[in-house]
Amino acid sequence: MINYLANPQRFLNFARFASPIFMCLFFGAFIFGLWQGLIISPADVKHGEAVRIMYVHVPAAYMSMFCYMALFVASFVSFVWRHNLADYGAMAFARIGAVFTALCLLTGSVWGKTGWGTWWEWDGRMTSVLVLFFIYLAYLFIRQVIDDRRKASRFAAIFAMVGVINIPIIKFSVDWWNSLHQTATISKIGSSGLETPMLIPLLSIIVSYMALFAWLSVEQVKTDIHTARLSRKTEKPAATITIEDDHA
């Protein structure tokens, strides 16, 4: 399938029907999930009503990692096979990933306020997500700073690949550091198995986020293809070449 879509024209054909499907799936699952999460599901014994933040927070945390994996795969493909579409994809995944990561941090902070009583706590998970956010920003910065787009995409791909090796190391070190210095004060939901009424909204929001991810990525790649075509069309002709004997 990836091979099939690697051709820009086929990708555009695919996008024509896939994009609306992803969009509908996103809105459907999101509204359903919110309705389930905010109205149907019960309040938690320990966290009370605040537990409902979880339904946006946990899927966002999941997406922050998922997007990075997607970014890694796209970077790898674009680096090794010099494929433009993979590169457009990488850029889209990085932007979307950065937004999900920011969302995860924001909702985490709000949840922390209800749980810990502070907006920020140097908890292991939150710290790892924060570092991941910085990695996304660094990636986007590299693409922004380097003028030559083709070079920028290769540099950024190398960075993304180095990042993927580092993320588990960072996660491990932060957890280790966290266990040395402080004990988590908020009980982790999910470790003991969730009740079905909580699982339904959680899963549907995850589905909706994935659909949003797919929808936005397809749209972004579509735009990039059109932009590239446009710039080819308006580009100045190449230099004319004359080869002749020189009698100086």
Binding site: E235, A239, T240, I243, H247, A248
Partner: protein
């Protein structure tokens, strides 16, 4: 006699130069997003000099960098050959870019000796310095050399590389009359022993020996 090395002694420079070729086949080049030139084809053979002329930004330097294998063509192929048949750029090309590639804190002799070690050639650096007329500046730091002397030292490195194809980017820039004459002389002595050269230049170029052609790149209005 394939595979038999009947000459085990190190080959003389002239021997190395005898047969070589660089062929551009329908080469197109894109810098960033911009297509600079398309379908450039020519063949450089021993004793030939190609001048590359044209407007600023038309891609003169890019032709040299492509020939050197320093950058990648958008499409088309570059073929290199030596007395053995197909060869790689590394064994044929000597490139002189805008910079002279000198380390300011080294003396002229140290700098040249470093490159000889990198090339793994046991040529005497003093002979090379004599050849380019730098006998009196051997122990002068390269940062203290004049523009012309720096260029001569760079030519000594070209010579030291013992590669038959010289790619020169504006070799006359920033040189006085005597410097230009010496440069032309050095290029001629390279051509005379069977070497070849591609020279990017935006002005007229003084006479050289060898068969001379020019490639003009003109950007449209």
């Amino acid at each position: 006699m394939a595979g038999v090395r009947w000459n085990t002694a190190p080959m003389s420079i002239a021997g190395k130069y005898q047969q070589h070729g660089l062929h551009f086949r329908d080469v197109s080049y894109r810098r960033g997003e911009k297509l600079l030139f398309a379908d450039l084809s020519f063949s450089l053979l021993p004793g030939e000099v190609y001048l590359i002329q044209g407007d600023n930004g038309a891609g003169k330097t890019s032709v040299l960098r492509l020939a050197a294998g320093l950058t990648r063509a958008e499409s088309g192929a570059l073929l290199y050959e030596n007395y053995n048949g197909a060869a790689d750029a590394g064994s044929l090309i000597a490139y002189q870019g805008h910079g002279n590639a000198l380390e300011p804190s080294m003396t002229a002799q140290e700098d040249l000796s470093f490159w000889l070690e990198i090339y793994d050639h046991d040529t005497d650096p003093d002979d090379l310095m004599d050849h380019v007329g730098l006998n009196d500046q051997k122990h002068v730091k390269t940062s203290a050399l004049s523009a012309g002397q720096k260029r001569r030292l760079a030519f000594a490195r070209l010579k030291a590389s013992e590669r038959p194809i010289w790619l020169l980017d504006e070799p006359m820039a920033a040189l006085d009359k005597a410097g230009k004459e010496l440069t032309a002389q050095l290029i001629n002595s390279h051509i005379d022993i069977g070497g070849s050269a591609i020279i990017a230049t935006h002005s007229r170029f003084p006479a050289t020996t060898g068969k001379r052609k020019r490639i003009v790149l003109e950007t449209g209005p």
